[in-house]
């Protein structure tokens, strides 16, 4: 297939999902809170997304006079770019992917590390106390969770003997990695929530304490990019979980592989939203100690056991 | 009196406090900031122990656990006394007393003007009564019409007798009384009619509830918490009482007295309280008016620029320009005019007679070592001799101070018997009718006659003669005069003896009587007295609020400007806040106007002068500007604006600043704000150098904020202008004072000269002022505001005045005429108000019966008098206290032409 077409379709689908998530999240949250949610604009309130987009586009795009302007403008772009780039290595179906890299996982980890720059620079450039505190919290949180996010995936890599997402999916033909790599999954899932700074780990933008953290000063479409970036992140982490631990496109063959992939992805998106609906935000020190004292040893233990078992089986 | 300064320690509710011996317990507790509810006690009126509300518990010693209830206002403070205010028994008694008081109090607060600043409300809350258990009907009364000042609503009365004690005992009024018996006691007049006393307005503040309320406020009623206030100084006479002026919706709502221990104490006179209505008058000039041609009518213009561009070339720098100042304009406004025209072209807008007399007074106060008393010191005088001046009508608060002074001798006698000064009724019982001697020498019966030991009636020459005789008896150096009549000689000897033996003798005279002889005679007496008694005092009543300030500025009298005009053409004549037709004859003013190419008037009301000139500039009144006034004792006091200027109205000095800029044809304004103006004044005229020391500058801050003019509960901020525009406008800035047009800021206890209103937690009524004082009846915390610019130099150098007595040869049909001032009417500004207008008498002439018989006049006849070729019509009133050959004619009443009195006049029937 034509590369450009694939890229176009991928971008369209991914961005549509991210945008649609705005509506999905609000509706789901209201269901769990015994409300109705947005249901006025269009059928079931679906056009709320469009209304919101139009609103974002037409809002005054204000650049604070006290900010570091080039960095301020650049920051939201970094987030979008790094996340969208990662989607390039994700196989949606056996024959539908942009680029089958033999370092797919490393590419994902690298991009997600770069994504932190967006937040740190955005908060820094805003030249505002709340933004700055938010950015500092984000960098510490990301650094922490980055460490064992990578480590938790090593078990998967060892079992599939490859960094390529396609190869990993192929390796799950007999058994999804969720079973042998259960601890890896738990650590990765928690790290993923923290990496996208979604509730309950939205400490960098905690409204109650920091107004909106690193993006306090953003408005208009720049804010929109942070906003959509967050949903893109959710989609990405969900897609990676589905790919690495739940067999990606694998599934009974009466339905096309892409369907199974999206079904699994959406399941994890729902879990993300359910987490938001039910859990309160931990204190900052609790977040850090959970990372360093529990998840890091767990990830290391997982590598140790996986390695030992693999060696033993050889 | 050494007892009075002894410090004692008392224990109140377990804490130790220090206070001074000689006070009563209530007074001491209030000074310490402790809240004891009370009704009948008022610092100025003393204790009578009538209301039983100030109950506290006293313990014999530290072992006494039971204690006994006492009335704190009747208990002298003693060393080591132990009391409890919060004790349950005492609180129960206080609550029960209030409950009793409230049984008949109507359900009126929403429509009662006292509500929100009501002592009864405060005390009800403070004593803890909150539920009515009394289920029976309430007593009612019929009300009276008490004239245009005071509203009467007897149902609200709680029978505390404060009004009686104030009106009858303190100011000596006769026409308010208590009627009926037991719980039917009624306070009112014997019939409807205006209260006669000049101080009746203080009933509004003295009455702890809403029986007596301000009728002028009722017309545009506003609660205390909604008023935007500023500390001000009364502009209606030369005494300079301190006032609080209050604004709401851009109009002046009322005037209350502002405590100043050295000047007016707790009270002000009715002219000061109710004379404010001219500020809101329809006749106010709100926009500039110009007249292109002399024959055309003035037209209103709205743009500042228009007025400034319409100034013709006769205003340019090389042209002759003359400025006429005013004794009713502030010192700064007069000074700004002086800098516009230069010292050689500045004229005081007063007649030559007034100019000379005021100058004499000022020079004497500066050069002699005779004390000029404040009102507080006047209250301490033990012998008073009043020469020629009707102080009740020209300086009313001085008269009230004299009324207090007469009690000094009997009070001293009572203290010797061990009765403390605050214990009002025992003192009155002991002293009965005895008084300190007051001698009054005037042409006609005086309002103070009732407290006088001896009165003297005669022509000005007679009065001066008496004065000279007294002076010569006191000291041989003074010009001697042996009086022709034995009675008079006896009186002179009696007065001289009294003055000689007095500790604090006081001579009161004034320039309003218009007679140099009398003034000189009075000054001579004071010089003679001073030789032997350093406590000798002399008080001189001046005509207007800033007569002294104007006299201190260089300048010449108005008459000289007129004589210049009759010789040469004046290019531009600038008249500052002055109606020249009140200062000199119509002919002279007409000459002045005819010979001026261009006449500019700055004033706030349309009057004869401002009607007929080329340019009228609207300037702000005392309520809308800052300024300094210097009162008759030389005390400089500053007033601040309560109303922010609107339309084209600006302060005189600001307008004149613009004129200076225009005349000099450059862009720099000599001053941008009030502080710069004052600095410029102080630099140029060293006589005013103390001004800068006392007044806080506009950049003064308390807790980093300006002092708010508004109370914490100021309401309607987001709605009062919403009919014009729903978005709230920025709060107006005031760059000229440390006060803000705002409720924001720390308003508690600002410097005493900047207190915009009295309020402390729990005290919403005027009684809150107690918490602003060092000592009740004493000075404000941080000292009383105002600074004396004219101070005697301590050495007694002044020499006696040589008095040439001149006799006037009367023609046929001629009588000597002396002026009679009316408290309501003789002052220009207050006369424009509705309430005052109803009390202004018709122009009158007093004649004694014999003179009337000669002319065949009867009471109430309208007659004509010709004085210096001008004719006036007046109503005859027969008054037998007058000496034959003397007539007393009202002056300065609205509609009357200027007459230069004293003079002789030809009397004829109409």
């Amino acid at each position: 297939m034509n590369y450009l077409l694939i890229i176009g379709i991928t971008l369209f689908v991914v961005l549509s999902i991210a945008a649609g998530l705005i509506w999905i999240e609000r509706r789901l949250l209201s269901v769990w809170q015994d409300r109705l949610g947005p249901n006025r604009v269009g059928p079931f309130g679906l056009f709320q997304v469009i209304a919101d987009t139009i609103k974002l586009f037409f809002k005054e795009d204000w650049v604070p006079p006290f900010s570091d302007k080039p960095v301020f403008i650049l920051a939201p772009g970094i987030l979008m770019v790094t996340i969208l780039l990662t989607f390039a290595v994700i196989p949606f179906a056996p024959d539908f992917y942009v680029f089958d890299s033999n370092i797919g996982i490393l590419f994902f980890l690298g991009n997600s590390s770069l994504g932190v720059y967006s937040i740190v620079l955005g908060g820094w450039a805003s030249n505002n106390k709340y933004s700055f505190i938010g950015a500092m919290r984000a960098s510490a949180q990301m650094l922490t969770y980055e460490v064992f996010m990578g480590l938790s995936l090593m078990g998967v890599v060892m079992m599939a003997d490859s960094f390529s997402f396609r190869a990993i999916v192929e390796a799950q033909k007999d058994c999804w990695f969720i079973i042998p790599q259960f601890f890896g999954f738990v650590v990765f899932f928690i790290a993923g929530v923290a990496e996208t700074h979604r509730l309950p780990f939205d400490i960098p933008e905690a409204e109650g304490e920091l107004i909106a953290g690193y993006h306090s000063e953003y408005s208009g479409m720049k804010f929109g990019m942070f906003f959509v970036g967050e949903y893109l992140g959710v989609t990405l982490i969900s897609a990676i979980i589905a790919t690495l631990f739940f067999g990606g496109w694998l599934g009974p063959s009466f339905l096309p592989p892409a369907f199974w992939f999206f079904l699994k992805t959406f399941f994890f998106i729902f879990v993300f939203i359910l987490l938001r609906a039910s859990l309160p935000r931990p204190r900052y020190d609790q977040l850090m100690s959970l990372g360093w004292k529990l998840l890091l040893p767990l990830a290391l233990l997982n590598i140790l056991i996986t390695g030992a078992v693999l060696l033993f089986l050889k | 009196m050494s007892l009075e300064i002894m410090i004692v320690k008392i224990r109140i509710d377990g804490k130790y406090y220090e206070t001074k011996l000689g006070k009563n317990l209530l007074e001491a507790c209030l000074e310490l900031g402790l809240n004891i509810p009370h009704f009948c006690y008022h610092p100025a009126l003393g204790s009578v122990g009538a209301c039983r509300l100030c109950a506290v518990k006293r313990f014999k010693d530290a072992d006494d656990k039971k204690g006994h209830i006492i009335m704190s206002c009747m208990e002298p403070v003693t060393e080591g006394m132990i009391i409890s205010i919060e004790d349950a028994d005492a609180s129960a008694i206080r609550a029960a007393v209030i409950e009793g008081v409230m049984t008949n109090h109507p359900h009126d607060c929403p429509v009662c003007d006292e509500g929100g600043e009501c002592h009864l409300q405060d005390m009800t809350v403070m004593a803890g009564h909150n539920y009515r258990r009394f289920d029976f009907k309430k007593r009612t009364y019929k009300d009276q019409d008490l004239g245009s000042f005071i509203n009467h609503e007897m149902n609200r009365c709680i029978q505390c007798y404060r009004c009686m004690r104030f009106y009858r005992d303190y100011v000596g009024g006769k026409d308010l009384n208590a009627f009926a018996a037991h719980n039917y006691v009624y306070f009112g007049r014997h019939e409807n009619g205006a209260l006669e006393s000049e101080f009746s307005g203080n009933l509004v503040e003295v009455c702890p509830t809403g029986v007596f309320t301000d009728k002028t406020l009722k017309k545009h009623f506003t609660r205390k918490w909604d008023l935007s206030n500023a500390p001000s100084v009364c502009v209606h006479c030369s005494v300079g009482c301190n006032t609080i002026v209050s604004e709401r919706y851009d109009s002046l709502r009322r005037i209350m007295s502002r405590y100043n221990g050295a000047v007016n104490g707790y009270f002000i006179c009715d002219r000061g309280r109710f004379g404010y209505e001219f500020v809101n008058d329809e006749k106010r000039i709100r926009n500039p008016k110009i007249r292109i041609n002399k024959n055309e009518k003035q037209e209103e213009v709205s743009e500042n620029n228009l007025i400034l561009t319409s100034l013709t070339e006769s205003f340019s720098k090389d042209k002759k320009i003359i400025g006429i100042g005013s004794p009713r304009a502030s010192l700064e406004s007069n000074y700004s005019l002086l800098s516009l025209v230069g010292q050689e072209n500045f004229y005081h807008g007063i007649s030559k007679r007034e100019y000379n007399l005021t100058k004499t007074a000022l020079d004497f106060l500066r050069s002699s070592s005779v004390k000029t008393p404040s009102l507080k010191q006047i209250e301490k005088a033990d012998v008073v001799f009043i020469l020629g001046e009707d102080i009740t009508n020209t300086a009313p608060m001085t008269a009230l101070a004299v009324r207090q002074a007469v009690r000094n001798k009997p009070k001293a006698a009572a203290t010797e018997k061990g009765i403390p000064l605050w214990n009002e009724y025992p003192i009155r019982n002991y002293t009965q009718d005895s008084k300190s001697p007051v001698f009054i020498a005037t042409a006609i019966k005086d309002r103070l006659d009732d407290i006088a030991e001896k009165t003297f009636r005669g022509s000005n020459a007679d009065i001066a003669g008496l004065g000279i005789a007294v002076g010569s008896l006191l000291n041989d150096e003074a010009s001697t005069l042996k009086l022709s009549s034995n009675d008079q000689q006896e009186l002179a000897e009696k007065i001289a003896l009294s003055l000689k033996n007095a500790k604090h003798p006081l001579i009161i005279t004034g320039v309003n009587c218009g007679d140099e002889e009398i003034l000189h005679a009075a000054l001579n007496i004071s010089i003679a007295l001073r030789k032997n008694n350093p406590e000798a005092m002399l008080s001189i009543a001046l005509p207007e609020c800033n007569s002294m300030g104007l006299a201190m500025l260089p300048g010449k009298p108005l008459d000289e400007a007129i004589s210049i005009a009759s010789n040469e053409i004046i290019d531009t004549l600038v008249i500052l806040e002055n109606d020249l037709y009140r200062r000199t004859t119509k002919e002279s003013v007409d000459v002045l106007f005819e010979k001026s190419k261009q006449v500019i008037v700055l004033d706030h009301l349309i009057n004869k002068t401002s009607q007929d000139v080329d340019i009228v500039i609207p300037v702000s009144t005392f309520a809308e500007s800052e300024g300094t006034l210097i009162n008759n004792e030389g005390r400089a006091q500053r007033y601040y604006k309560a109303i922010n200027n609107k339309d084209e109205v600006k302060e005189s000095w600001r307008w004149i600043g613009d004129l200076i800029k225009l005349r000099n044809n450059d862009q720099s304004i000599p001053w941008n704000n009030f502080d710069e103006l004052v600095s410029s004044l102080v630099n140029e005229l060293p006589a005013f150098s103390k001004l800068k020391e006392y007044m806080p500058d506009a950049d003064f801050r308390m807790y980093n904020a300006k002092i708010p003019r508004q109370s914490l509960r100021y309401s309607g901020r987001t709605a009062m202008n919403a009919n014009i525009a729903v978005s709230e406008q920025k709060v107006a800035e005031d760059n000229d004072s440390p006060l803000a047009f705002s409720m924001e800021g720390q308003g508690e206890q600002p410097p005493s000269s900047l207190v915009p209103f009295y309020w402390t937690p729990g005290w919403n009524s005027v009684q809150a002022s107690n918490n602003y004082l060092d000592e009740l009846n004493g000075s404000l915390k941080g000292g009383d505001p105002g600074i004396r610019l004219v101070e005697s130099n301590g050495e007694n150098k002044s020499s006696y005045f040589k008095i040439d007595s001149h006799t006037v040869d009367l023609q046929k049909n001629e009588l000597l005429i002396v002026p009679a001032y009316s408290i309501f009417g003789s002052e220009e500004l207050s006369s424009a108000g509705e309430a005052i207008k109803q009390r202004i008498p018709e122009p009158f002439v007093y004649l004694c019966e014999k003179d009337a018989d000669i002319f065949e006049f009867k009471d109430n006849d309208m007659i004509t008098i010709e004085i210096a070729k001008s004719k006036i019509e007046l109503k005859v009133i027969i008054e037998n206290s007058l000496k034959q050959g003397v007539a007393v004619v009202s002056v300065n009443l609205p509609g009357m032409p200027f007459i230069d009195l004293p003079a002789s006049g030809i009397f004829s029937k109409m």
């Binding site: 209201s30 269901v31 769990w32 809170q33 015994d34 409300r35 109705l36 359910l274 987490l275 609906a277 039910s278 859990l279 | 109507p106 359900h107 009126d108 607060c109 929403p110 429509v111 009662c112 509500g115 929100g116 009907k137 309430k138 007593r139 009612t140 009364y141 019929k142 009300d143 609503e153 149902n155 609200r156 009627f179 009926a180 018996a181 037991h182 039917y184 009624y186 009112g188 009722k218 017309k219 545009h220 009623f221 506003t222 609660r223 918490w225 909604d226 919706y249 509960r713 100021y714 309401s715 309607g716 901020r717 987001t718 709605a719 009062m720 919403a722 009919n723 525009a725 729903v726 978005s727």
Partner: protein, 171 residues
């Protein structure tokens, strides 16, 4: 750890609960008579304005959105010369109703007062005054108060004795 999972599970179960949302404007909610909505000025049993312009509502208002000016008719009866509420500032706290000593100012169950132009949210007395008595029929302040302002003579009030005869000295 377990409690976290239990929380998530319990939240998830809310999928099967009924929604509490009332779909206004298709469904109008029930508003109690004491609901704090639009502010009105009521009249007394003689159909005259109840408001006596005492300024207590203005003082109680935490956002200072009430401004008025007292005036008097020929009988001395107090009424507001103007009475203005800036509803764009009003927070419908009802303090004004609590403060009102004459039951004049009342909050009613009506909240549908949105406007496109904020200026239209400034209500003057003509907009506020209704012709009825509102929640407290029959109450007339002047019949309870001690003043004589044309409603009753002194001594004719509900809780008053006949005026005292000042010349009477009987015990």
């Amino acid at each position: 750890m377990f409690s976290i999972l239990r929380t998530i599970w319990l939240t998830f179960l809310h999928i099967f609960h009924r929604s509490e949302t009332v779909e206004y404007p298709e469904v109008k909610p029930y508003l109690a008579p004491r609901y704090r909505g639009r502010i009105v000025l009521t009249r007394d049993d003689e159909k005259k304005e109840r408001c006596v312009a005492c300024y207590l509502c203005a003082a109680a208002c935490p956002v200072d959105c009430i401004a008025l000016q007292a005036a008097e008719d020929d009988n001395g009866r107090r009424y507001p010369e103007f009475f203005r509420i800036n509803f764009s500032r009003c927070i419908f706290c009802g303090f004004c109703e609590d403060a009102c000593p004459t039951y004049a100012i009342q909050l009613i169950p009506d909240f549908e007062m949105a406007e496109y132009d904020r200026q239209n949210l400034v209500y003057e007395k003509e907009n506020l005054l209704i012709s009825g008595e509102g929640k407290y029929p029959g109450y007339n302040f002047y019949k309870n108060a001690g003043v004589d302002m044309g409603v009753k003579r002194k001594g004719d009030g509900l809780t008053e004795e006949k005026p005292v005869d000042v010349n009477d000295l009987m015990p």
